[in-house]
Symmetry: C2
Subunit: 173 residues, 2 copies
């Protein structure tokens, strides 16, 4: 199973592709960030993010997409941008009939470190350890994307259950 993890954002959107299955050490296929310039008009930032994430999708063809669920921790302006980044990643999944799942930050932290209260440094260190890397992926958005992908990978079976539910709902609509 190949999972694309997305840590949504406009300035730096973390992206990671991880391969594996529950109970086995996962393999990091690729990790990085899609950046859009804060100086661009907002709609062109959205367009560039869509182009960037689509390029990742087309290159790695993941079987599922794992996205961080957004909460209103910061000001509304950034929440709107992050919600739109989540929406773009979801759209790419829907367009390709690729199951999409959202995971809260604490779900991802708990899956990776065993504690939902782990800090970024602990998550990065565990991500490196799990994948056998020399150090945590940089920047932190990239490490978070890896954590999201591994979280989904380790919740084995989710993909199938989800795909079944989506197919059932689509038939009903």
């Amino acid at each position: 199973m190949r999972v694309m993890g997305v840590d949504p954002g406009l300035t730096r959107c973390g992206v990671a592709v991880v391969e594996g299955r529950p109970g086995v050490r996962p393999t990091l296929v690729a990790v990085g960030v899609v950046r859009t310039s804060p100086g661009l008009p907002h709609e062109f930032r959205l367009l560039r993010l869509e182009e960037g994430l689509t390029a990742w999708y087309d290159r790695y063809r993941p079987g599922t997409i794992s996205i961080e669920r957004v909460f209103a921790q910061h000001n509304l302006h950034s929440v709107a941008g992050v919600a739109q980044a989540v929406g773009i990643a979801m759209l790419i999944g829907a367009r390709h009939d690729t199951p999409v799942e959202l995971h809260s930050p604490s779900e991802a932290k708990a899956a990776i470190t065993g504690s939902g209260q782990a800090d970024k440094k602990q998550v990065g260190a565990m991500v490196a350890r799990i994948l056998g890397l020399d150090g945590p992926p940089r920047p932190v958005d990239a490490a978070d994307a890896v954590a999201l992908a591994v979280t989904q990978l380790w919740r084995g079976g989710v993909e199938n259950r989800y795909a079944q539910a989506v197919a059932a709902r689509r038939r009903a609509s």
Copy 2:
């Protein structure tokens, strides 16, 4: 000048196409809503909204798009959905190099009725009067989309200034 107004939402997204120029009675070309079922998985709602708005865009080829600016008046879940609907309308503009502008609800109310505190009924009545309709467009999301389109139409020159700014920023990026 032809403007597409969008009152963003997932369950009912108001859309209107209005033609005219500053100081002249505008003409209503088309008005309606794009609906997505709350029973669908979220990512398919986003995809259907994108398909619906793209169909409107392709059919009417507006010169600019006018979208309601979102504020956190309601719960965060609906704000995220509305922010994503705004993002989709913006993406369609960016893809076609069609200028996009956001207007707050009070800007649109003030432009249409002369008062930023006007209620929905007053806005609907004035929209009908301005366009020479028998009554306000229904549902209210459709009337709001007309108000947003007229607001942008009457702020003549915005299109050109905006297009110039966008072009300058794109060259610089």
